[in-house]
C-alpha cells in the first residue's frame, strides 16, 4: 500500500545529525527557510518499502525551550506540522547530555525513535551501551548506528515505516520532578483539560510543564481562556514562591535537575564504562592545539594557510571565469551594433553577472576550508581561544572567522565573510559581526590603495599596506564596540559552548557543505545583482550628453579634420576624407603588424599608396624606421598627422568627461561636492565613489575617465598615479583621506545584498548609512586635522 510519511530529524549539534540526513537522502536535498525566519529548512524525499518518506532536518538544538530561534522553529514544526515521527540522533559517546533533548520529546509525547549514533566511537572509548535495555527503560525504540559508514540506516528506515504503520498516538511520558512540582502539574493539567477554548495541538501535561518552567510562548497561549489562564497563573506563582522559599531555586532549575536525575538513573543501568583516567586522543590533540603559548601561534598559521589556500587555489578558475566573460563580451560586441543596447549588455548585464559569478571559485574554496575547520571541530577551539579578546568589543569568539575571510589579512572578500557569520548563534552578536566585516580590506579595495600609494607613498609601500591592515581591524573592532553599546545593546550572551571531539571530516560531508553554500550564493546574489547592476549602468549612462553637446564635439572633430586636410604639406599626399580614412586604416593595421612582428603583412602593407607616410609617422612616434629616408614634405605631413591624432583623442576624452558629467551619477557627484568639499573630494572623485558602490575597483576605472585618461585598466594603474601626482589639486593628505574613505564607506552592492539575505532590509540599509557616516567622520577628522597640523600638503 502506498503511504506518505513525514519524519523530523532532530538532535544536538555535533551528534552527527547532518551525516545521518546526508546518508538517508543522498543528493536529493532541498533547502528553504522556515516561514518568516532566516533559519534554514533542509528536506529530502526518499522511497522505502512502498512508502514515500519526507525527511525534514530540524535545527540542531540542546533543548526545546522558547528562548532560541532554532528551538522555537523546531517546536513549532513539531506541534503545527505534526510529523508522523521524530528521529532523535543521539551521540552514543556523549549519552547523558544527548538524552536531555530526547527526554523533552518524550514529555511532548510525539512518536519517537532514538538513533544511537557513533556507537563505534563510544566503544573505542570503552563506553558499552545495552541498547535493548535502554529502549526498554525509556519505552522508546533505540537503533544503534554508525552513520558515517552507513551502518544502521536501513534498520532505522525499517523501524520508521513499521512504527508509523501502526498509526501511533501522542503519549506524553510522565516523569517525576519532585513532589511539589508533580502535584502542581496534576492540578494544572486537570484545569487545562476542562477548557473548551484551548486547542488540542499541545498535550495538556506538556502545557502545564512549560507553564511551570515559565515558557513565555505557552503562557501567552494559556491567556486565550482568560478565566482559566488567570487561575493557572495563580497556581504557577504559588509553586514558584514555594520552591524558591524551600529550595532557593526556580522551578525551571529543579525540573532540569530532575530530568538529568532521570537520565543518570537510566544510564547507570544501561551503560558500562571503564573509569576514564587516561587522556583520549582528542584530549591529547587539545593539549597542543589549545596550549597557552603554541596554541595561538598554530591558530595564526592555520588561519593564514586557509587564506593562502583559498586565494591561490581559486586563482586559476577566477582567470578562466574572466576569460569566459571576456569572450562573451567580445562576441556580444561583434553581434550587436555599437550603441546603448550593446553598452547595456556588455557593461550592465555581463559585467554585473560576471562580477557575481567571478566570486564563485573564491567562495567555493573558502567554504571548503571553513567546512574542514567546522567538521573537524577546530572552529570551536578558535572561538574558545579568541573569545576573551573579542568579548571586550561586544563580539564573540566565533566572530573571528568572518573578520579574517572579509580581509583580516588584506585581500579577502566580505561576501563569504557575511555568510560565514552564520556560525554565531546570538542574533545581536551575529548582526554586529555582519555590520563590521565590510570595514576589512577586501581584494577590490587593493587596486584603489595601489594607485594612491604609487602616486604619493611609493617609498613606504609595504609599511603603508601593513598600517592599513591594522587600521581596518581597529575600525572594525571599535565600530563593533559602538554598535554593541548603542543600537545592538544587550547583555553578553553566555559562552556555554561544547568543544566537540576532533573528527576526521568525510569528503562527502565537505562537498555537500561546500556545494550547498555556493549554490545559495549563486541563487541569492545572482538574481538581485542583475537588477542592481542595470540600475547602476543606467545611472552612469543617462540622460547622457545633450544633442548640442554631441553636435559640438562632432563639429570639433570635423574642424580638426578640415584643418589637417587643408595644410599645404598634407594636401599633396592626402587629398580628401576618403584618403584620410584610408590613412587611418593603414596606420592602425601597420601598428598592429609591427606589434605582432608580422613581416608578411608588413610587406603587403608597404605596397599601398600611403605606406611611406605611415612609416614616417611611425618613425616619429617610436623612433623605429625601416626603408629609405623621408623627405621634408613627408616629415611635415607626418608631424601634422600625429598632432591631429592627439587632438582627436583629446576630444574623445573631453566628450566622455562631459558625458559622464551629464549622467545621473555625474549629477549626484556634483551635488555631493557641497558635502565632500571639507574632505577635499571634487565631483570627479565623487562620481568614482558612486561607481564604487557596484564594486570598489570601479573607483579606479571611473577616476580614469573623470581624469581624462580614457579607459584605465585597474591592473595597470601607472598612468593614473602619475596624473594624480602631477595634479595641483592632489596632495598626500588627500590621497590618504581617500584611502580611508574607500576602506570605510558603503559595502559594495553584492555585500549589501548578502547582508539583507542574512538579516533584513533594514539592517542592510543601516549598514549603508552607518558606514557612510563613519567614513565621513573619520575622513573629515583626517583631512581637517591634517590641514590644521600642516601634514602632507
Amino acid at each position: 500500500m502506498e503511504r506518505e510519511i513525514t519524519i523530523a530529524l532532530s538532535g544536538n549539534p555535533n551528534s552527527g545529525k547532518t551525516t545521518v540526513f546526508n546518508a538517508i537522502t543522498g543528493a536529493r536535498q532541498q533547502i528553504a527557510n522556515y516561514p518568516g525566519v532566516t533559519v534554514e529548512k533542509k528536506f529530502g524525499h526518499i522511497r522505502h518499502k512502498d512508502s514515500d518518506i519526507e525527511v525534514v532536518d530540524l535545527p540542531g538544538t540542546y533543548s526545546l525551550t522558547a528562548y532560541s530561534l532554532e528551538e522555537i522553529v523546531a517546536r513549532d514544526f513539531l506541534v503545527n506540522e505534526r510529523p508522523d515521527l521524530v528521529v532523535d540522533i543521539v551521540d552514543a559517546s556523549n549519552l547523558d547530555r544527548n538524552l536531555y533533548l530526547a527526554v523533552q520529546f518524550m514529555e511532548l509525547g510525539i512518536p519517537l525513535i532514538i538513533a544511537l549514533n557513533m556507537v563505534d566511537v563510544a566503544e573505542s572509548r570503552d563506553i558499552i551501551i545495552d541498547h535493548r535495555q535502554l529502549s526498554a527503560l525509556l519505552e522508546v525504540p533505540v537503533i544503534p548506528m554508525v552513520a558515517r559508514s552507513n551502518k544502521g540506516i536501513q534498520e532505522l528506515l525499517d523501524k520508521a515505516v513499521e512504527i508509523t504503520g501502526n498509526d501511533p498516538q501522542w503519549r506524553p511520558a510522565v516523569i517525576s520532578y519532585g513532589m511539589d512540582i508533580d502535584q502542581g502539574l496534576n492540578k494544572i493539567e486537570a484545569i487545562i483539560k476542562t477548557s473548551k477554548v484551548y486547542d488540542r495541538k499541545y498535550p495538556a501535561r506538556w502545557r502545564a510543564l512549560k507553564c511551570l518552567e515559565g515558557d513565555s510562548q505557552i503562557k501567552e497561549l494559556l491567556k486565550r481562556d482568560p478565566d482559566l489562564g488567570e487561575k493557572i497563573d495563580g497556581i504557577c506563582r504559588k509553586i514558584f514562591k514555594h520552591i524558591m522559599d524551600t529550595l532557593e531555586e526556580e522551578p525551571e532549575g529543579i525540573i532540569a535537575d530532575h530530568r538529568y536525575g532521570y537520565i543518570t538513573g537510566i544510564t547507570k543501568k544501561t551503560v558500562k564504562r571503564k573509569i576514564e583516567s587516561r587522556l583520549n586522543l582528542s584530549d591529547k590533540i587539545d593539549r597542543v592545539l589549545t596550549n597557552r603559548i603554541i596554541g595561538p601561534l598554530i591558530m595564526m598559521a592555520l588561519l593564514y594557510s586557509i587564506y593562502v589556500f583559498t586565494f591561490s587555489a581559486s586563482e586559476a578558475p577566477v582567470i578562466w571565469f574572466e576569460a569566459f566573460f571576456d569572450l562573451l563580451k567580445r562576441a556580444t560586441v561583434s553581434v550587436i551594433p555599437e550603441g546603448n543596447l550593446q553598452s547595456l549588455i556588455v557593461s550592465g548585464v555581463i559585467d554585473g553577472v560576471g562580477g557575481v559569478l567571478g566570486f564563485v571559485p573564491l567562495i567555493m574554496f573558502m567554504f571548503f576550508s571553513i567546512a574542514i575547520m567546522e567538521d573537524s571541530g577546530y572552529m570551536a577551539r578558535v572561538a574558545y581561544m579568541l573569545d576573551r579578546v573579542l568579548r571586550w568589543f561586544g563580539l564573540h569568539g566565533n566572530s573571528v572567522m568572518p573578520l579574517v575571510i572579509s580581509g583580516g589579512i588584506s585581500g579577502g572578500c566580505a561576501v563569504p565573510g557575511v555568510m560565514a557569520a552564520r556560525t554565531l548563534r546570538d542574533p545581536k552578536e551575529r548582526i554586529a559581526t555582519i555590520l563590521v566585516v565590510p570595514f576589512m580590506n577586501c581584494g577590490a579595495k587593493l587596486p584603489v590603495y595601489a594607485v594612491l600609494i604609487a602616486a604619493f607613498f611609493v617609498e613606504h609601500k609595504a609599511r603603508m599596506l601593513f598600517i592599513l591592515t591594522l587600521l581596518s581591524w581597529a575600525f572594525a573592532l571599535f565600530a563593533a564596540k559602538i554598535i554593541r553599546s548603542t543600537v545592538l545593546k544587550g547583555p553578553k550572551t553566555p559562552f556555554v559552548m561544547e568543544l566537540p571531539p576532533y573528527r576526521l571530516p568525510t569528503l562527502k560531508g565537505l562537498l555537500i557543505h561546500t556545494w550547498e553554500r555556493t549554490w545559495q550564493y549563486i541563487k541569492k546574489a545572482g538574481t538581485v545583482i542583475l537588477g542592481f547592476s542595470i540600475i547602476l549602468w543606467l545611472m552612469m549612462t543617462f540622460p547622457g550628453p545633450s544633442v548640442e553637446q554631441s553636435n559640438f564635439f562632432g563639429d570639433q572633430r570635423k574642424q580638426l579634420e578640415r584643418s589637417f586636410l587643408t595644410s599645404p604639406d598634407v594636401r599633396k599626399l592626402v587629398k580628401d576624407e576618403k584618403d584620410l580614412a584610408e590613412l587611418n586604416g593603414l596606420y592602425n593595421s601597420y601598428v598592429q603588424a609591427m606589434k605582432k612582428n608580422d613581416t608578411a603583412l608588413l610587406d603587403n602593407l608597404s605596397t599601398r599608396p600611403l605606406s611611406f607616410l605611415v612609416r614616417t609617422v611611425f618613425f616619429l612616434e617610436s623612433g623605429k624606421f625601416s626603408g629609405q629616408e623621408a623627405d621634408g614634405n613627408h616629415l611635415n605631413a607626418a608631424a601634422r598627422y600625429i598632432n591631429y591624432l592627439r587632438e582627436m583623442i583629446d576630444t574623445d576624452v573631453r566628450e566622455q568627461q562631459a558625458a559622464l558629467k551629464g549622467t545621473i551619477a555625474g549629477w549626484i557627484g556634483q551635488r555631493l561636492e557641497t558635502i565632500t568639499r571639507p574632505l577635499g573630494f571634487d565631483y570627479r572623485t565623487n562620481i568614482a565613489l558612486v561607481g564604487g558602490f557596484a564594486a570598489k575597483e570601479v573607483v579606479i576605472s571611473t577616476m580614469g575617465t573623470a581624469y581624462s585618461l580614457g579607459v584605465v585598466d585597474p591592473d595597470e594603474p601607472g598612468s593614473l598615479s602619475e596624473r594624480l601626482r602631477n595634479d595641483p589639486g592632489w596632495d598626500p593628505l588627500l590621497a590618504f583621506t581617500l584611502i580611508i574613505f574607500t576602506m570605510l564607506y558603503v559595502p559594495c552592492i553584492i555585500t549589501v545584498i548578502m547582508i539583507r539575505k542574512e538579516s533584513s532590509w533594514s539592517w542592510a540599509g543601516f549598514s549603508i548609512v552607518f558606514n557612510l557616516v563613519v567614513a565621513y567622520l573619520v575622513s573629515l577628522v583626517i583631512r581637517q586635522g591634517g590641514l590644521f597640523l600642516g601634514l602632507g600638503v
Binding site: 547530555r97 532540569a256 550572551t493
Partner: protein, 81 residues
C-alpha cells in the same frame, strides 16, 4: 577534607562534584541544559590563552564557560592536606 569553592578558583586538572548552581535566567538555563546540574562530576581541562574561558570535562564531553559564568557554579573538592 572536603570543601566547596567556586569553579573559577579550581586549578587545572582538579576534579570535584558540582553542589549548587547559583544563577537563574538565561545563564542558569543554558548551563543546566548542557548537563551542569548538582551531583555531577567535573574536571578542569584547561584554560584559554588569556585564562578565560575555562574548559571542563563533564558527562563524557568538554564544555567551555566564561569565568563570570563559572563563578556561579559551586564545586565540592578534596582539599589537599
Amino acid at each position: 577534607m572536603k570543601t566547596v569553592i567556586k569553579m573559577r578558583e579550581m586549578s587545572d586538572n582538579q576534579e570535584g562534584i558540582i553542589k549548587k548552581i547559583s544563577t537563574t535566567g538565561e545563564m542558569g538555563r543554558r548551563i543546566r541544559e548542557m548537563g551542569v546540574v548538582p551531583d555531577t562530576w567535573i574536571q578542569i581541562q584547561g584554560r584559554a590563552p588569556l585564562k578565560d574561558p575555562v574548559a571542563i570535562k563533564i558527562r563524557d564531553y568538554i564544555l567551555t564557560l566564561r569565568n563570570n559564568e563559572a563563578d556561579h557554579i559551586l564545586v565540592e573538592i578534596d582539599e589537599p592536606g
